[in-house]
């Protein structure tokens, strides 16, 4: 490590009106290191990134690059000085192809696009990060992992010196996340300072050289990762003890079979899925991205009807053809995509919670009884510990964890028998994760049944009674979680071994 940091924040503060998002923040990034930054949602990580990438200007303090104070007047200025960032939700242009995406912010190039040489360079860049990707494909059709690779290639095309990766693996499967970490390490090895932000602590321990903990906009600690323990880091982050996130709970499954699926197939998407789900059970579905777990859930919920196979619900043969039918039968589905499918961001918490159960709030005149609606919303706010001063607040302004809880509340309000949850804790902080887990456990204890799709293996092990592993649209096996390990699940999901 050289003595001069590539980029440094010196006593940087940033406030919005009365609220201080960052206070007296100091950070030094050296070439060749992977520097993890951890903190709860709302700790000030995104403000910090925005200052480093020139989107925000510090209220006070100094940004230094290569030891000299600089003013980053915008994201373009930051790019020119070699600072780039990639995010959990990849910032790609869906209508442009990979080549165009990579060179979209190319500076200092000529006026006229030389398509052929751009294409060649794009292939080289994609190759450099060890991906195989058709550079003529439109970015909108790529997987999240591929889109992130495009973003990294874009940063590399501009001689990047500091690469900030904000929750890059939150949406990726374990295999893809490992691939991304490998890319991050190799970038660091080539002299880039990599800032790595993640909620997956095991990931931080695997990849980082040093780790900085921030809380409430303040710097708490920066230490070499070897000197830190997970418990100590979590305590630093939350400033309090965290519940039973990693603790395995005893199963409360009963004998009664709620859902029985045999040979369920949707032609061309998934095939031959068979399992029994018992009352009180939590069945987790594990697999890599592209394993088609969500598609199975969507068929169970009637969004896309299955083309073959049978499904028995509470002993009755059913053919699920619409979500309305599924809801009427007491099945709820909590989507992984909060923005697109789950929540109406501009609407208040109250309306979001009552959205799926509006019929319950109608007065005899057919009008919505707002008082009752509000009462329910407040009850769920208490029960799920949704941190919002008022249920009239727009959901869009809440943190990711609280949004997730609103979405759960919406479906719990329906009092379902079977709850299908897709990636319930993606991108939310450890505290909120534990709360979501507690909610699901409470739900099955009270007689509910849950089917949980998750790419977070510790979560799958902690939450599931049994684990159904999928790979490329096929069911690879069902493992009892008491006998499962992360490595074992991974081996099955990647097709390296058969399920026991």
């Amino acid at each position: 490590m050289s003595a001069i940091p590539t980029l440094a924040l010196r006593a940087v503060s940033k406030s919005f009106g009365m609220t201080a998002a960052l206070a007296d923040m100091t950070l030094e990034l050296f070439p060749g290191e992977v520097h993890a930054i951890v903190g709860e949602n709302g700790a000030g990580k995104s403000t910090m990134i925005k200052i480093m990438t020139g989107i925000y200007q510090p209220s006070s303090g100094q940004v230094e690059i290569g030891g000299a104070p600089v003013v980053l007047s915008g994201s373009k200025a930051a790019r020119l000085r070699g600072v780039a960032a990639i995010y959990q939700e990849p910032m790609v242009f869906p209508d442009l192809d990979v080549t165009e995406n990579i060179f979209i912010s190319a500076t200092g190039a000529g006026l006229i696009l030389d398509r052929r040489s751009m294409r060649r360079r794009a292939e080289a860049l994609v190759g450099r990060i060890g991906m195989t990707l058709d550079v003529d494909r439109e970015a909108g059709g790529l997987t999240l992992a591929e889109q992130q690779a495009v973003e990294i290639a874009r940063a590399l095309s501009q001689d990047v010196r500091v690469l900030i990766m904000d929750e890059p693996t939150a949406s990726l499967s374990a295999h893809e996340a490992a691939e991304l970490r490998r890319i991050a390490r190799s970038l660091a090895a080539s002299g880039v300072a990599v800032v790595y932000i993640s909620h997956r602590l095991e990931e931080v321990f695997e990849i980082a050289d040093r780790v900085t903990v921030i809380r409430d906009g303040r710097h708490i600690s920066t230490r070499p990762v070897a000197e830190v323990t997970p418990q100590g880091m979590i305590a630093d982050m939350v400033g309090r003890a965290v519940g039973n996130y990693f603790t395995k709970m005893a199963s409360v499954a009963r004998d009664e079979v709620i859902l029985s699926v045999r040979g369920l197939t949707r032609a061309g998407v998934f095939e031959d899925i068979s399992f029994d789900l018992h009352r009180g059970e939590v069945l987790c579905m594990a697999g890599l991205i592209g394993a088609r777990r969500t598609d199975v859930a969507l068929s169970l919920f009637g969004v896309h009807a299955a083309t073959a196979g049978e499904m028995r619900y509470k002993g009755q043969m059913v053919r699920m053809t619409s979500p309305a039918q599924a809801i009427a039968l007491g099945i709820a589905y909590v989507s992984e995509d909060r923005r697109k499918l789950g929540l109406a961001m501009p609407l208040p918490i109250r309306s979001n919670i009552s959205l799926a159960t509006l019929a319950q709030y109608l007065s005899p005149l057919g009008l919505i009884d707002r008082r009752r609606e509000r009462g329910t919303a407040m009850a769920y706010r208490e029960r799920l510990n949704i941190r919002a001063p008022d249920v009239e607040m727009a959901v869009g302004v809440l943190s990711g964890g609280n949004q997730q809880k609103v979405m759960l509340a919406k479906w719990l309000a329906m009092k379902p028998d079977l709850l299908i949850v897709d990636e319930p804790t993606r991108g939310i902080d450890v505290g909120a994760k534990a709360e979501v887990h507690d909610l699901i456990r409470a739900f099955v204890r009270d007689g509910g049944t849950a089917l949980v799709i998750s790419s977070d293996l510790p979560e799958v092990l902690a939450l599931g009674d049994r684990i159904l592993v999928m790979r490329e649209g096929r069911q690879m096996g069902i493992i009892d979680s008491a006998r499962a390990t992360q490595e074992g699940i991974m081996a099955v999901a990647t097709g390296q071994s058969e399920a026991a």
Partner: protein
């Protein structure tokens, strides 16, 4: 052939589909109307498309950036009037100067829209709805109740649109149409080959990402409006030359026609994708339907608008379904090929 087919972008496919729809429609009308195909049909359609193509191109530039320009008809009308006024008082002025004047004049209106939309952060639909009325009112004030009449215009101007440039297979290409084609092709080349224009797609495709990528989205939106205004100004000049008689209602309703042509031509109304070639074909399609319906005896005058609307809907739906199927089918084939290749490798 299959190689070419596989290489075509979805936009390219869409253009093929549009061409197919246009040919189908022509065949349909030919079966319904006696003596439908003649050299005049081409002159008619190319003549009115000449103006609409420019306006559809202008509208496309704005729509690509996730905006819309409803003031375009007023800009066309105002420029036509101002240019008519200018050239009738200075009949000796050079054609080049007049073209420059019209582009700059239109660009000024575009700049007003662009400033408010891009830097004032007011939604374009509201801004241009207001400026549509404001520009039109300014024209009423400026015109002082006078109209521009053909006899005050120099002959070279009014004769220009109908000058035959060349004839292919008995189809006469006239100057207005050829000029419009050149402008559309230039716009197409610029959009596909110029780096700054590529940013139009980026901003329309994902504005946040564009900001993050260091693109000055505001400047891009502003430029789109200015360019669109300049093209609308050019269309105004064309309008003046073709119709000669300019009153304050000139260009009324062009805003919706231009949006229709662009959308029919496959320009995504939510920004980010589309081609001006598509918009040109969209303009052709709408005009073919419009022109042919007048000649189709079965459809009475009162039903024509409704039939026009229905046919536009039908052709857009056909085109969308057709293109989507084609893209899906192609993707499935590509997937199958990849799988086959993988299996091949896996074998020892």
């Amino acid at each position: 052939m299959t190689g070419l087919f596989n290489r075509l972008s979805p936009q390219g496919l869409r253009i093929l589909a549009l061409l197919a729809v246009i040919l189908l429609l022509l065949a349909f009308f030919a079966s319904q109307i006696d003596g439908y195909f003649n050299a005049r049909l081409f002159s008619r359609i190319s003549g009115s498309v000449a103006i609409m193509a420019l306006i559809a191109t202008a509208q496309t530039l704005v729509i690509l950036t996730r905006n819309i320009d409803l003031s375009i008809g007023s800009v066309v009308g105002f420029t036509a009037f101002a240019a008519g006024n200018l050239v009738s008082t200075n009949p000796e002025m050079s054609a080049l100067l007049l073209v420059l004047f019209c582009c700059c004049f239109g660009a000024c209106f575009g700049a007003v829209n662009g400033l408010i939309v891009a830097y004032g952060r007011v939604p374009s639909i509201i801004v241009t709805l207001a400026t549509m009325a404001i520009f039109r009112s300014l024209l009423v004030e400026y015109s002082d109740g006078k109209s521009i009449t053909t006899n005050t215009l120099p002959a070279w101007l009014t004769e220009f649109p109908n000058l035959p440039v060349f004839t292919v297979f008995g189809l006469e290409f006239r100057a207005a149409f050829v000029a419009a084609l050149i402008v559309v092709l230039a716009a197409h080349l610029a959009l596909t080959r110029l780096r700054p224009m590529r940013q139009f797609f980026a901003v329309g495709s994902n504005p946040e990402a564009a900001e993050m990528a260091g693109i000055d989205a505001r400047r891009v939106v502003f430029s789109a409006f200015v360019l669109s205004g300049a093209l609308a100004g050019l269309a105004g000049l064309m309008f003046l030359a073709r119709f000669g008689n300019i009153t304050v209602v000139a260009g009324l309703g062009f805003e919706l026609k231009s949006v229709a042509a662009a959308v029919v031509g496959g320009v995504n109304i939510f920004g980010g994708s589309g081609t001006v070639i598509g918009a040109l074909l969209g303009a052709v399609l709408v005009d073919v339907i419009d022109t042919s319906l007048v000649r189709w005896a079965i459809v009475s005058e009162f039903w024509r608008e409704a039939v026009l609307g229905a046919l536009i809907l039908l052709s857009v739906t056909t085109d969308t379904l057709f293109t989507r199927r084609l893209v899906a089918w192609r993707a499935a084939r590509a997937h199958a090929r990849r799988e086959a290749a993988l299996n091949q490798e896996a074998r020892p």
